[in-house]
C-alpha cells in the first residue's frame, strides 16, 4: 500500500492532464463544430469562402425557385431588404441578385451579414462566387448601397428540392471588432 506512492503520483498526473485536456476539448469543439457543419452542410451553413467559378460543370435544364429573405439583428439601425424576393433559376447557371441596405442611424455603422439556407442540407449546393457576407459592410450615416450576391446552384442538387430559401441576418459589428478600426490600430503600430 504505502510502497506504491510512485504509482499514485503517476495516476494523479494522468488524471489531472485528462481534466485539463477535456477543458481544451471544450474549446476544440468550436472549430470542430464549424468544420462539421461546413463539410456536411448541416445547420444551413453556407461556405464562408467564395466558390471557384471554374468548378462549374454544365447548365442543366432543371429549374428551382430560390427565395431571398432579410432580417436585421437586435440593435442594428439599418434598413435591409432583398431587391427581388424570388428567382426561378436553372442549375449550374450564374445568377446575380442584390440586397439593399441603408444606414438610418446618425453615425457610421459596420454590419456583418450571416447567411442561412433552408432546407439545411441544400446549403452545400448553393455556391456563392461573390457575396457581401464574405466581408463586413461599412455605411456612413444615411448612406445606402446595393450589395450583390453572385451564385450558382450545383447540378447535383438532390431531386426532392424544388425551393431553396436564402436568408441573411444583418448584425451590428461592435466597435472593437470593426475591421476598419482594427486595421487603423495595426497601421498605427507599424
Amino acid at each position: 500500500m504505502t510502497e506504491t506512492p510512485n504509482n499514485q503520483h503517476k495516476h494523479v498526473i494522468l488524471l489531472c492532464s485528462l481534466a485539463l485536456a477535456m477543458f481544451g476539448f471544450a474549446y476544440a469543439l468550436v472549430p470542430l463544430y464549424q468544420i462539421f457543419c461546413e463539410v456536411t452542410g448541416l445547420n444551413g451553413k453556407t461556405s464562408g469562402r467564395a466558390a471557384d467559378p471554374a468548378t462549374i460543370s454544365q447548365v442543366s435544364d432543371r429549374e428551382v425557385t430560390i427565395q431571398f429573405l432579410a432580417q436585421v439583428g437586435n440593435g442594428m439601425p439599418w434598413e435591409f431588404r432583398p431587391t427581388e424576393h424570388q428567382l426561378r433559376v436553372r442549375l449550374g447557371e450564374f445568377n446575380t441578385t442584390n440586397y439593399y441596405a441603408r444606414n438610418r442611424a446618425a453615425q457610421a455603422v459596420t454590419g456583418q451579414a450571416v447567411p442561412s439556407v433552408s432546407p439545411g442540407y441544400a446549403a452545400k449546393y448553393l455556391r456563392k462566387v461573390e457575396c457581401f457576407c464574405f466581408t463586413q459592410q461599412h455605411l456612413e450615416a444615411g448612406e445606402d448601397q446595393n450589395m450583390p450576391v453572385r451564385f450558382y446552384i450545383g447540378d447535383d442538387l438532390p431531386e426532392e428540392i424544388h425551393t431553396i430559401s436564402l436568408s441573411y441576418t444583418l448584425f451590428k459589428v461592435p466597435a472593437v471588432q470593426d475591421t476598419s478600426s482594427i486595421a487603423k490600430i495595426a497601421n498605427n503600430q507599424q
Partner: protein
Amino acid sequence: MVTRTEDLIPHRSPLLAFIARWLLTTNHKEIGTLYLWLSFTLFFIAGAMAMVIRLELFQPGIQFVQPLFYNQMVTMHGLIMVFGVVMPAFVGLANWQIPMMIGAPDMALPRLNNFSFWILPFAFTLLLSSLFMEGGAPNFGWTFYAPLSTTYGPPSTDFFIIGVHMMGISSVLGAINIMVTIFNLRTPGMTLMKMPLFVWTWLITAFLLIMVMPVLAGAVTMVLTDRHFDTSFFSAAGGGDPVFFQHVFWFFGHPEVYILILPGFGIASQIIPTFARKKLFGYHSMVYATASIAILSFIVWGHHMFTSGMPLMGELFFMYATMLIAVPTGVKVFNWVATMWRGSLTFETPMLFALGFVILFTIGGLSGLMLALVPADFQYHDTFFVVAHFHYVLYPGAIFGTMAAVYYWLPKWTGHMYDERLGKIHFWTAVIAVNLTFFPMHFSGLAGMPRRIVDYSPQFVDFNMVSSIGSGLLGLSQVLFLYIVIKTIRGGEPASTRVWEGAEGLEWTVPSPAPLHTFETPPPFPPVMESDVNE
C-alpha cells in the same frame, strides 16, 4: 503522518478547537460528514425554493411571486439540487464508505480532500448571494442557454459563473482523489472484479466527472468571455452560433445525469443483497452495464436538442443511441429483481428506500424512453412531462438512493440504530408524496402545460393543486428525516459490528461507531464476518 489537528492548534477555547477540527481535518470520515451536512443544508434551501414554485403554481394567475422571481427560483432550485445536494451527498458517501469498503486507512490524498470540500461552501455562498443582488439571481434556467445567459443575463450571472467554476474544481479534485484511492489503496486480494458495486459505480462516476466537468468549465468560460471580452462563441453576429452552446452544454449535461444516478445504482446493489440475504445476481453484468451506460452517455447529448432544427440523420442517430441505453439499464433492473427472487426478504427502512428507488426510477426511465422518440419528443419538449421525467429519476432515484444509504450506514457511522418506526413513517410519507407531486405532471405535460412559466391555463388547475399538496407533504416528510438523523446521532439502541444480519463487506468488520482511524494495516480479504445479529 500522525500529526493531528489537536497538536497543531493549542486548545485556546472550545469554539476555536471545534472550528480548527472541522476546518483542518484530513480524515475521510469527518470530511464525509461535512459533505453530507452541506448537502443536507442545501437540500432544505433548494427545497424551500421548490415550495415557492409549488405555492405559486397552486392556482393559475400570479399569486405570490413576480415572474422574474419565479424564474430565479426555478434556476436556483435546479442548480443547487444538482450541484449542491445530489453531487456532494454522493461524494460524502464515497468519502465515508470507499476507504472502509476497500480496506484503506484513508483517501489517497487527504489534504486535497479537505480542499475539495472547503471550496464548496464558498461556491454556494457566491451562488446564493446573487439572490440579494440588483437585478436578481440568474433567471435563465439551470441550463443557462445562450443568449439568455450572455446577452440577456442579469449582472449576477458572473457570480454564477465563478460559482460553477469553483464547484467544478471541487468535483474534479474529488473525483481524482476517489479514482487514485480505488486504484492504489485496495487491500491485498481485492481485485477490481471483487470490489463492492458501490465502489465500482463510483469509479465510473469519477471518470465521468473528470471527463465532463472541464467541458462545463469551458462552457461557462465562453459565456463569461462572450459577456465581457467581446468574443462571439454563441453570438451569430460575430460568427458564432447559439445552438453551439447547447451542444457544448449537453455534451457535459448528459454524462452529468449519469453522474447523478450511477452511485445510486451502486447503493441499491449493496442494500438489496443484504436484505434478500443472497449474493447480488449477475455481479459481472452489473459492472459491464454500468460501464456501457457511461460510454453511451457521451453520444446521446443530441436528444436534448431534437427541436433545435437538427437534421433528420442527427435525430435518428441520437434517438437510436438513446434507446440503446435502455438495454444496460434493463440488465440492472433485472439483476436487482433476480437478487430478490427466492431471497429471505425483510423490509427495514434502507430496503424500503432501495425498492422505492428501483420501482420509481424505472418509471422515470420509461418516460425517458418516451422522450427519446423524436416525433413524440416534439410534443413533450419543454412541457411538464419533461419535469415529471427528470424528477422521477432524480427524487426517487438519486435522493431516495442517498436516503437508503444513510439509513443503511447510519448505525455504522453513529453506533446507534435509527428509530425503525419513524423510518418506516418517513418512507411511506415520502413515497406517497413523491408520487402525488410528480405523477400529475405527466398528465399536465402531455396536455401541453409548458415548463418554467409562472402562470398556466386554467384547465391544468386540478393537476397542479394535487402536485402542490403533494410537494408540501414531501417537504414535511424530509423534516422528519432530519429529526430521525439527529435523534440517531444523539442516541438509540447500540448497533452491533455487523449491524444487518445479511450484510457482507469490509465496512461491517469494524466496530460501530466506526473509530476515526480504521484499517491502519490492510485487513484480510475476503473478510471474516462476525455472525452476530442485531435484534
